[in-house]
Point group: C2
Chain length 138, copies 2
């Protein structure tokens, strides 16, 4: 695997704007190694609510904040910690597999998540201590 | 082609709700004949702004209103006219190919569109008269 792909990165997504609003799109050409297999969206999260709190073994995701502000905190296997504020509908955050993810919402935020895998509970690491074991072995 | 698939239909998408908000998802199992190849979202559309105003030759779409209300008006090759109000993040509207589409936005609405094709300008019929020609030939 190309190690470059294992790092989170911010994507500037193309927006077509005119007097009738903004159209922003993601297609597989944006990240040629990424195929959208599942899409989910988070709405009605209370102010300061924290979602995520897991890592994925295989799944890669792209996060887009369509409204409001979310703060994304990532922890890599290398123990590197990264924090991103997403607050515009044309910024995507690519989150590779094996990153512990915490997303803190501001009120009325909407988060869109594009995934390169179908849902599989077996792909989730939900126990932080298990993830820390993986960090120690890394 | 199975004619059943050529009719628009409302999809009730699964939502996982708890005190931390609502997670609604779409994956290919929802519509087994549908693979997400492109995703786009419309934001900052003015109140009563109309988007769409085209038909697709091949592309099928699923529309989800993540916030606010959009009124979707469809016209089939058979000249049948259908109107849907989308105002909840767990309702998807499946729009098959060859339906003239008009979407009217209320203020602050956000529309998510899942597409089964990559973008291709050649797939658009943007001239209503050309679409009406297709209706006459149908």
């Amino acid at each position: 695997m190309n190690n470059l792909l294992e790092k989170p990165m911010l994507l500037h997504l193309e927006t077509k704007s005119n007097s009738l609003g903004d159209l922003t799109f993601f297609e597989n050409q944006v990240l040629p190694f990424f195929e959208v297999k599942r899409v989910f969206w988070l709405t009605a999260v209370p102010d300061r609510g924290k979602r995520g709190l897991h890592a994925h073994i295989k799944e890669k995701q792209v996060l887009v904040c369509l409204q409001g502000t979310v703060t994304v905190r990532l922890e890599a296997l290398s123990r590197e910690k990264l924090e991103y504020k997403l607050n515009t509908a044309n910024k995507g955050l690519y989150v590779p597999e094996m990153h512990w993810l915490e997303v803190e919402f501001s009120a009325n935020s909407i988060l869109l998540v594009l995934c390169d895998q179908e849902f599989s509970e077996a792909d989730y690491i939900r126990d932080k201590r298990a993830f820390e074991d993986d960090q120690r072995k890394y």
